[in-house]
Structures are given as structure tokens and as C-alpha cells.
């Protein structure tokens, strides 16, 4: 194991590995430590969706730029990440949702995104198996360039490319302490040895709070267990991801043919418990069959849990903290870390390697939770 690095990244998920790639490409000497295996946290339980339809400017910008990177990523990384653009169809159920959708679409269009509000009778043209009456939809928004990629393969492809540029990635290596001196990072202590560095990136997903507490920084992150399921593989039925903010459901058909989707159970509580529940299986099956009655004949094969690391405004915490020089946050993704990771890590790599400090790093800094008015991301699902 290396005993010295320019940057140590804690966490081998999508954000840790894509940041390692972006830094290594800039010839930065970077090490990733991952306590388990690559994609063992939220990335490995991810629903695979890539969406640009958000209510806040920052998330919309990050996701639009990320899609531009995703479009060329298989080629850039030298491995197929199974990216495809079948769009996202967001159901609108009532007047209140329609007003919010109009606001969102106007903002998204101002950033150049192609997105439309559809009449209810146009929904089946996009996803034929939906029962618009069962959904109680009065319309939908649709963005054709939203889509999917395989989160594990994207994670592995970033790691593979990062290593090719000289990054070292150590799995089954746990960060157990961070040493500082006069409010500057000195080293990262792991169970396999110490690594001297003056820059640490906290990309530990749901464990980010614990990592930050090693240097007495409090991150306002609450962990929520989320459940998700996959059916048996079917012939291609539809290409879009279908979601509803009101019902909390999201589902889509993956490349192999399985339908993957999730929904929060009504009795959801925060916590670290990972056991899947019967309540989810029933609630998901009922809602999915209401949305697409034909699916009642389809078998659910498996369902699993993952975590959302949720911040007070459901937006990530990015960039260097004021109190400790060299301590950089890349966490609090609140359930949408995969889809914005390409741009998030590009921005962070440019900050670390080139000192670039775009406005978005100020807007999403940890300091935003102090006093000032919080801008909530409303378009959260699952």
C-alpha cells in the first residue's frame, strides 16, 4: 500500500471512483480506500435512472452536464456502461402538481433542456402499458434525453480507467481515522496502514457522517433505508422510466428485460436497518399493478435495500469545508448520486487540481445550512 498520496478518497462507489478517474487523468497522485468491495453501498443498490427534470437550478445544471458526459462515457472509459436514453415520464396527478411542473419545465427549458408537458391522452403513446385512469393522471412531463445506465458497470468502468491513469484503489481497506495539524489534513489512517496526504475526499455515502465526525465536522445527513425490486426478464415493453412524486413510485425496464422499481413504504422511518420488508413487496406490487395492470402476470424475483443519505434540502454537500483545509465533501446525494456523478466529480477534480471555484460549489457547500434560507429540491422520488 502507498504511504503517501496527493489525494485520498474515502469510498469506492460511483462518486469516489469517478473522482479518482478525473483526478488521475489530471496526473494527480490519487488513492481510493473502500472498506468493502466497489459499489458495495448505495451505487450497488441503485435504480439506474438518469434524470434531468429537477426543481432546483443546481440539480438541473449538474444533471444536464452529466448526461452530456454519459453520452460519450462508454467510449471514454473503454467499457460499455449500457447507457440508453428512453426518457423519463413524470405523472401529474392534480392542479397543484401541474403548477409545480409548469414552473420546473420553464426553468429546465431556460437551461436548454428539451422537455414537454403532455396531455393525458399522449401518455400511452410513450408507455403503452400504463393505465392512465388507474394512475389518476391529468398529464405528464416528458424529457426524451433522460435515461439509464448500469450503475455497477459505470462504477467498475470508472475504476478500471482510473487505474489505467495510475490511481490506486484499495478494497477491503477501512478508513479508521483522519489526522490533522493546525486545521490542515495530515494523513488518513486505515486498518492496513497510514497514508500521508493533505487532501481527503469524503465520498463514503451513508458513512460520510461518521468519516466527518473523525475531524469533528457535523454533516446534517439522515440515512433512509429504501427498497427496490426486480421482476423476471420480459420482451421490451417500454423505454421510459415512469415516476410519480405523489405516489413515490418509479419503475423502468432494464436492458436485459427485467422491470426494476421502488416505492417508499408508508411506515418508512430513518435508520440503518437493512432487512427488506413484506410491506414493501405488497405496496410495490399493488401500486405497480395499478399503474400497469398487465404486469400482474409477471413474477417478482428479488428485492433489496439501499440507503439514501438525505440532507435538509435533498441536495448534495460538495466542496471543501471552511474549518479544515483539504477536507472535501462529496456526499449527501439524497438518492440521486449516480445520475449527477460525472459532472459533480469533474467540478471537484477541477477544484482540487486547478483551484477552479465555480458558483455551484458555493451554493452546495456545507455552509449553506447556516442561517440562510434553504432552497429545497422538491422533485425527489423513491
Amino acid at each position: 500500500m502507498k504511504s503517501k498520496a496527493d489525494v485520498v478518497i474515502i469510498g469506492g462507489g460511483i462518486n469516489g471512483c469517478s473522482l479518482a478517474y478525473n483526478l488521475a487523468k489530471k496526473k494527480v497522485n490519487v488513492v481510493v480506500v473502500e472498506k468493502n468491495y466497489l459499489s458495495s453501498g448505495a451505487t450497488g443498490a441503485c435504480g439506474a435512472g438518469i434524470r434531468q427534470q429537477w426543481s432546483t437550478l443546481e440539480n438541473t445544471k449538474l444533471s444536464i452536464e452529466s448526461v452530456k458526459i454519459f453520452e460519450k462515457l462508454s467510449k471514454e472509459l473503454g467499457q460499455d456502461i449500457e447507457f440508453r436514453q428512453g426518457g423519463y415520464l413524470i405523472a401529474i396527478h392534480d392542479k397543484k402538481e401541474l403548477i409545480q411542473a409548469e414552473k420546473n419545465v420553464a426553468m429546465q427549458r431556460s437551461l436548454g433542456l428539451k422537455v414537454d408537458i403532455l396531455d393525458v391522452n399522449k401518455i400511452n403513446g410513450i408507455v403503452p402499458i400504463l393505465d392512465v385512469k388507474g394512475i389518476n393522471a391529468i398529464g405528464a412531463t416528458f424529457c426524451p434525453t433522460d435515461g439509464h445506465a448500469n450503475p455497477f458497470k459505470t462504477n467498475f468502468a470508472y475504476a478500471y480507467a482510473a487505474r489505467r491513469f495510475g490511481a490506486e484503489i484499495y478494497t477491503h481497506t477501512k478508513a479508521i481515522g483522519i489526522k490533522t495539524n493546525q486545521k490542515k489534513i495530515k494523513s488518513v489512517e486505515t486498518d492496513k496502514g497510514s497514508i500521508k496526504t493533505d487532501c481527503v475526499v469524503n465520498a463514503a455515502g451513508i458513512d460520510s457522517k461518521e468519516i466527518a465526525s473523525m475531524v469533528k465536522i457535523n454533516l446534517p445527513i439522515i440515512e433512509y433505508r429504501k427498497e427496490i425490486m426486480a421482476t423476471e426478464c420480459l420482451k421490451p415493453l417500454f423505454e421510459a422510466m415512469v415516476i410519480s412524486f405523489k405516489d413515490g413510485i418509479y419503475f423502468s425496464q432494464q436492458r436485459e428485460g427485467q422491470i426494476v422499481g421502488g416505492i417508499p413504504i408508508p411506515e418508512e422511518r430513518s435508520g440503518f436497518k437493512t432487512i427488506p420488508t413484506f410491506a414493501f413487496m405488497q405496496h410495490m406490487a399493488k401500486t405497480l399493478v395499478r399503474y400497469a395492470p398487465i404486469l400482474k402476470h409477471v413474477n417478482m424475483l428479488r428485492h433489496w435495500t439501499g440507503f439514501y443519505d438525505v440532507t435538509p434540502d435533498s441536495r448534495p454537500i460538495l466542496g471543501e469545508v471552511k474549518k479544515i483545509k483539504g477536507f472535501i465533501q462529496c456526499n449527501g446525494f439524497s438518492g440521486h448520486g449516480f445520475m449527477i456523478s460525472p459532472m459533480v466529480t469533474k467540478i471537484l477534480s477541477e477544484y482540487i487540481a486547478d483551484g477552479k471555484f465555480p458558483a455551484i460549489l458555493k451554493d452546495l457547500n456545507l455552509d449553506r445550512f447556516k442561517g440562510e434560507k434553504i432552497v429545497y429540491e422538491k422533485s425527489v422520488v423513491g
Binding site: 468491495y37 459499489s39 450497488g44 467498475f156 478500471y160 400482474k296 402476470h297 413474477n299 424475483l301
Partner: protein
């Protein structure tokens, strides 16, 4: 004719596929699962996981007994959404 050994019947994964993935650096059974979809089909790994563990032992020297089983995923056997959605007890 080339001799092919199928390791995972659900996803059509051969012994060669597994060996290739291990050579590419996927040496965790969970990483192999996510790379190749072994254990994600209708049988949930009943056929393949022990075979993959043996190949891993042969290739990496890790003992089968020290290779953890992948996380178990309910409902264990395929159950139709219609059955799960009904209120029958």
C-alpha cells in the same frame, strides 16, 4: 467443436466468462455478481454461486469457506405481482 461449461443457466454465463472477469480484477463474489448477473436470475444463485466460489478458489487461492455468500434477496422464489398485490392471506 468448442467445449463450453455453463456455470449460470439463468443468465447463460460460462466458466470462461467467470475466469475472464476474475482476470480483469473482479475477485469479489459480489463484484462478479454485479458484473456478470450471476445469482440475479430466477434461481437466485442456487446453481451458480457454489461453482463460481470454486472457480474463485482455484484462481485466487481464497478458500471457498472464506468466500461470503451473496446477500439473500426475498421473495427467494418468483412470486407474481398479482399474487403479492392481492389481499388473500
Amino acid at each position: 467443436m468448442k467445449k463450453i461449461s455453463i456455470v449460470c443457466r439463468c443468465e447463460d454465463i460460462t466458466e470462461e466468462d467467470v475466469i475472464k472477469a476474475i482476470d480483469e480484477g473482479y475477485t469479489d463474489i459480489e463484484e462478479l455478481r454485479k458484473k456478470l448477473r450471476i445469482g440475479m436470475g430466477p434461481c437466485q444463485g442456487r446453481v451458480c454461486i457454489q461453482l463460481v466460489a470454486k472457480i474463485l478458489e482455484k484462481k485466487t487461492g481464497k478458500k471457498v469457506s472464506s468466500i461470503p455468500l451473496p446477500t439473500s434477496r426475498p421473495p427467494e422464489i418468483p412470486v407474481s405481482l398479482g399474487t403479492l398485490a392481492s389481499d388473500e392471506k
